[in-house]
Symmetry: C2
């Protein structure tokens, strides 16, 4: 990699905008010395913060924009108001123009996906994009997709998600053959809805170059049974938020219990190092960054409410994907799958 790789940042995204994005970018820049950054947004707000981070300043270029997409803009509104001139639009457009290899925004998900699809278009052979989340598990981390881009994905789309998620897991975890599971409500072949059953059949019968594990259930996600969990956007979104809700609920129960008596408080104080290690493993900032898959370019969505540390994680994810050539991997894999899915190949497989 002789040329400098560049990450485009929507400096206006998130609840706090440049106050959070710039320090986050500074953290990421320090961890990845080879990368440069394009910062899109209001220069009057960006420059004073950037001045406090001289190391980032050396590798960053500010591009002024007048318009910022609001956190509560509807996707259609954002496209209308923000087209061409918003920080979000320009960050994504820098990827299309080849000025940057990935864009990161903590702005609103619907607007970001609408713009990303409009500007970058889906990869040849991919019907619909997916958003992939990085989920902390008992064994480390897994990729779960789709968590909200494509509601009601059909069998073919689920198959595409499997291929894209597997490519992402290779980039993110550095494993040769990540395992892929299809989310279902039981592990027997007859379980599930038609899309899942048909996707399961395709994954079993087509000779895809990926390690298909079979069906997994909701509790397999946290167990880390597979590296990649594939599902359609409605179920994936609900599962992700239900798990986040449970984590918050349990933390709150624990806090209540440990502050009830003096002895409990003393015990908690003695165990405070242990609690820090425990909290650290669950820290949502360490798993921040939803990757948009299936587009001609990398776009990563950071949580809007995160801090600099969390935003830096999302930038790290983008950098991992760029450094490992995610988009090229997906294009190659999808071409392979499409060759297998031509009517002749499918018939041959069915006849075996």
């Amino acid at each position: 990699m002789a040329e400098t790789l560049t990450i485009a940042l929507d400096a206006m995204g998130g609840d706090q905008g440049p106050e959070m994005v710039i320090p986050g970018a500074a953290l990421a820049a320090e961890r990845h010395p080879g990368f440069s950054f394009l910062l899109f947004g209001d220069q009057a707000k960006i420059n004073p913060v950037l001045a406090k981070h001289p190391k980032l300043q050396k590798v960053a270029t500010v591009r002024h924009t007048d318009v910022a997409v609001a956190m509560d803009d509807k996707p259609s509104q954002a496209l209308r108001r923000g087209r061409g001139k918003s920080s979000m639009w320009q960050a994504i457009d820098a990827v299309r123009q080849g000025e940057a290899q990935a864009a990161v925004s903590a702005g609103n998900t619907g607007a970001l996906m609408a713009m990303a699809r409009f500007i970058l278009r889906t990869v040849e052979g991919i019907q619909r994009p997916a958003i992939a989340a990085v989920w902390p598990t008992m064994r480390g981390q897994s990729v779960v997709l789709d968590v909200g881009a494509t509601v009601g994905a059909d069998a073919r789309q689920l198959l595409e998600f499997a291929v894209m998620g597997e490519a992402m897991a290779r980039c993110l975890f550095g494993v040769q053959q990540p395992t892929v599971g299809l989310l279902n409500i039981g592990v027997e072949e007859i379980k599930g809805n038609e899309s899942v059953k048909e996707a399961g059949r395709l994954l079993r019968e087509l000779n895809l170059p990926l390690h298909y594990h079979g069906y997994v259930e909701g509790d397999d996600i946290g167990k880390g049974t597979v590296d990649v969990v594939v599902t359609e956007g409605f179920t994936g979104n609900v599962a992700l938020k239900a798990a986040e809700g449970t984590a918050k609920q349990i933390s709150s129960f624990l806090k209540t219990a440990l502050t009830r008596t003096l002895v409990a408080k003393i015990g908690a104080l003695l165990a405070s190092g242990a609690f820090r290690a425990f909290k650290d493993r669950l820290d949502p900032r360490k798993h921040n960054g939803g990757v948009f898959l299936g587009l001609n370019g990398i776009v990563v969505k950071s949580h809007g409410g995160t801090d600099a540390f969390g935003f830096a994680t999302a930038v790290d994810v983008a950098i991992d994907m760029v450094a490992n050539g995610l988009v090229a991997k997906i294009s190659e894999d999808v071409a392979q799958v499409n060759a297998l899915l031509t009517p002749a190949a499918t018939a041959a497989t069915a006849a075996e």
Copy 2:
């Protein structure tokens, strides 16, 4: 209630059969002195255990059966092998015949639902049954349905689930007007799939006698935002298991952290009372019992791997439903809804 109310138990269900079911029934019998019990199963296995619980023995009748449905029987297999003569079949059939007011089994869910539908049939006006789970929340408990009976429920069926879940919440929590939410991936009207959007429209526009809160998201379940969360069986099942998986994962992280150093161990020892209180709130045995809704009779499914304490909770749930006349409530409510859903009423509502 002058007549004695009776609960039919499948004594052979669950991983441990009578060894777990009988002590569980004994616990429940002690808590509910007015109730009697019909125990179906192998008398050679039941009687020795029953002899150790004289109080239960006084209010229990054993009905011998030769056949038990296996935990891994497929529903079709179970119906074929177990028809008429299995403990599971006979327990449900006792409800149909009016000998018992509810049946409880820790046997396999698919077989239990298949038999319950076959024997009890759905309530007039209800298209499909649902399984309702009792979910621990920050504010207490909520009813979540469907968690696996009806995959891909349509708008009309979601509406029926709302009505049935609301009736169950009234029986279980003793509140007059439980709040009902529709599970979605955002709270705006345009979010979700077609079934959810249409169910949302019906719940907003029909003047149903229930307190409709609107859309809720995955993390609202654990928060306890509403008393009743309505969704179709695939998403509900995945959400429930994802939350259970997260709870196990966090407990395991906590255990690892607290046993790493001596100081942490001492702290944990001092805080052991607090940890007990914490574990107690999350104890799955206290939230055991999936209620089959929409059938002409009450059937409660206990976890197969639970112990006597957990099984007693499932029996408690059945008793609550019987004592509060759940089936009659559902029939009345559904008749009301159907009247509102006649073409004329729907047109009138739409024209308002």
